[in-house]
């Protein structure tokens, strides 16, 4: 606790400098071999080494300065704020919110609707491709997947490590059915969802009696089984070659995005031929799918089945003694979550034009689950923020060419993706153990609506 008097604040500085130097020394000790010395193979295939003192110095400086700032500036500031809060007697439940806070959802929605237009305006039709496709669509796919998984993990509390299986089922359903039956995206989208839901039920049956760790292992295996089937059932899935030339989605069959087609969308509107329009269209499609997911989740939470999911997460035995059929409750959770995974999968297939088992590895499941956990289980807003940070952050790394000036020409920031991912998770979990949004909106009210702060419950339950 830093009291605001002259004497202690200079004492604080001394302490901060001391801890900063200490952190620097530890960083030096830790990184001197890993970072300071680099081994590589020369032309004769011999292993030789060279030093990277500059890079090491950066690591040490970051650690030392970071610790100094933490101890000297940030911590006292936070303490003061906490103290002031405690003095004024306002708990974490605050009734008054800023304008931005109250209208956050509306603002976010409008921003999302205007986003493609804004990027076309700012970067030109061709330039917008990167922002709409790499950032917009990519992030929204993960938002949708994470919201879908949120139904299973966040609401029903069934830890699913194989969610990517349903994503794969959706993607391959669309790819195969459109290739063999020639059906359009809009017919196959619901069909892919239904097929994925069916697989959700198929997975659900054997795991009905399992919970927690055991459930996680079985779902993990399920995800791998689906992937291995896709690899080995070469007659149908063409194995690791994948399926290419998947049909593009059309604007409800009215306009098409195939350049040769008579009702080619840009031509119909007198625009120049560009793939950017297709991406902008896809952006709105995935946005609509995301909104559908959010709407369904919010509605379901207020309905008996949604309440049953949440109760199931809390206490299965109590649920049964209240007359809830836990079998159907679990199966519907699996099926609903899987259905949204299937939607996202078929969207993914039409966007990529190519699917292969490569896209559905365990890492994807882990990333989706990480987004759900980071965002705060059960919170749609938190999960969306986490998706933006995690997926957008990874995409941003591709843009960090300037880092090459610092770390040398053969530095590829994308390779550090997982490292940063892990680091970010550790940091978030340290400071916000219940994810970005740890509060849970209650669904039952008599008069007033109050957000219940997560700080009153233990970690992993908020």
């Amino acid at each position: 606790m830093a009291a605001p008097s002259e004497n202690t604040s200079s004492g604080l500085m001394v302490k901060a400098v001391r801890e900063g130097i200490f952190a620097g020394v530890i960083a030096l000790g830790m990184f001197i071999l890993y970072v300071g010395i680099e081994t590589y193979q020369d032309i004769d295939n011999r292993l030789v080494w060279r030093t990277r003192w500059g890079l090491l110095a950066i690591f040490v400086a970051v650690a030392a300065i970071g610790r100094f700032l933490m101890v000297g500036v940030i911590k006292p500031h936070l303490d003061r704020r906490k103290l002031a809060k405690a003095k004024s007697g306002i708990l974490e439940i605050s009734e008054e919110k800023s304008f931005f806070h109250r209208h956050f959802l509306k603002i976010a929605l409008i921003a999302l609707l205007l986003y493609p237009m804004a990027s076309v305006w700012l970067f030109g039709t061709q330039g917008s491709l990167k922002y709409v496709d790499n950032f917009g669509i990519q992030i929204l796919i993960y938002v949708m997947l994470a919201w879908g998984l949120n139904i299973v993990v966040g609401l029903a509390g069934l830890l699913d490590l194989g969610y990517v299986a349903f994503y794969a089922v959706g993607a391959y359903s669309y790819a195969l059915l459109s290739a063999h039956l020639g059906l359009s995206f809009w017919v196959l989208l619901p069909l892919a969802g239904i097929l994925a839901a069916l697989w959700g039920v198929i997975l659900g049956f054997p795991v009905l009696r399992l919970r927690g760790d055991y459930l996680a292992i079985v779902t993990l295996a399920f995800g791998e089984i689906i992937r291995l089937v896709l690899i080995n059932w070469t007659d149908v899935t063409r194995g690791t070659f994948g399926i290419s030339g998947i049909k593009k989605a059309s604007v409800f069959g009215i306009w098409s995005f195939d350049v040769g087609s008579p009702n080619y969308f840009p031509k119909a509107f007198g625009l120049a031929t560009s793939s950017a329009y297709y991406k902008i269209f896809l952006f709105y499609v995935i946005l609509a799918l995301c909104l559908l997911t959010a709407y369904v989740t919010i509605r379901l939470r207020r309905m008996p089945i949604g309440r049953a999911w949440e109760a199931l997460r809390e206490d299965e035995i109590a649920c049964r003694s209240l007359g809830i059929n836990t079998v159907t409750t679990k199966l519907t959770a699996f099926a609903t979550g899987a259905m949204f995974g299937g939607f996202a999968g078929s969207f993914f297939a039409t966007r990529q034009g190519f699917v292969s088992p490569e896209s559905f590895v365990f890492l994807e499941s882990a990333v989706i689950l990480a987004i759900v956990v980071l965002g705060g289980m059960g919170s749609l807003t938190g999960i969306a923020i986490a998706a933006v940070v995690m997926v957008g952050g990874t995409e941003l790394l591709r843009e960090m060419a300037f880092l090459k000036l610092v770390f040398g020409p053969d530095f590829t920031p994308e390779l550090y993706r997982m490292l940063l991912f892990g680091l970010a998770m550790v940091i978030v979990m340290l400071f916000k153990p219940r994810g970005f949004v740890g509060t849970r909106e209650p669904t039952a009210f008599l008069k007033e609506r109050k957000v219940v702060s997560g700080s009153f419950t233990k970690e992993g339950h908020g």
Partner: protein, 242 residues
């Protein structure tokens, strides 16, 4: 006192694997009665309670509720026959608010009588009203017990099963809860089957009682009679000797 029979447990044997926890139990609860079951730790009291609810199911014998054999029904269907339970350890939903917990109890009627019944619960346990938008997990032990009973009552039960409502609570709170049970029984004619370690309070409250030892009912009779019985006094009221 002998009303119409509501719950009839006949020769019930329940096993955990190969271990016999209930060795042929006969218990009867009539409409409008408070019946309690007392016994030492491990006597099989909670097992009997859980067997009535179908988890675990009885291997032999019958559980008959309102003239219907419910021995082989799954737990959630038994609950839909309006047997509500406030289980051992309360088992409220910790992340959900008090109101949501009560809502879960009213699921059988799809919340048809929710507003009306919530008011009733709040008059019975005014503490819950103060805490209505607080999370279940943040309540004190006594409040959680009230919530657990309240949640069970929301189902408009024909039979209320209470498993150790006094567990870990201060005597004053226990008294309050027992008074509430008495009130429900007298004013609404609610039938209650109570499992208790706190033999004194339970026997005083109930019309009839059963004493259970090692998975068998060894004694039964009106509550006051058992209270005066020297054997019962020795084993359960004055402590120590068994």
């Amino acid at each position: 006192m002998a009303g119409e029979s509501l719950l009839k447990v006949q020769g019930v044997e329940t096993y955990y694997g190969n271990i016999r926890a209930l060795a042929g139990v006969d218990v009867e609860v009539n409409k409008g009665e408070i019946v309690s079951l007392i016994g030492a730790n491990g006597a099989g009291k909670s097992t009997l309670m859980m067997t009535i609810c179908g988890s675990p199911q009885a291997r032999n014998g019958q559980v008959i509720f309102d003239g219907e054999d419910i021995t082989r029904l799954p737990t959630h269907l038994i609950a839909r026959k309006r047997i509500a339970q406030s289980p051992e350890g309360r088992r409220i939903f910790p992340r959900m608010t008090v109101l949501e917990n009560l809502q879960m109890g009213a699921g059988l009627d799809n919340l048809k009588y929710f507003a009306e019944d919530v008011e009733k619960i709040f008059t019975l346990f005014p503490r819950l009203k103060e805490r209505q938008s607080q999370r279940g997990g943040t309540l004190s032990g006594g409040e959680q017990q009230m919530l657990s009973i309240g949640r069970a009552l929301m189902a408009r039960p024909k039979l209320l099963l209470l498993d150790e409502p006094s567990l870990g609570l201060a005597p004053l709170i226990v008294k309050g809860i027992f008074e509430a049970i008495k009130k429900l029984n007298q004013e609404e004619g609610l039938t209650v089957f109570l499992v208790e370690q706190n033999a004194f309070a339970a026997l005083k409250l109930s019309d009839r009682a059963y004493v259970m030892v090692n998975g068998k009912v060894t004694m039964s009779g009106p509550g006051r009679e058992l209270l005066a019985n020297p054997e019962v006094r020795a084993a359960y009221l004055e402590g120590g000797r068994h």
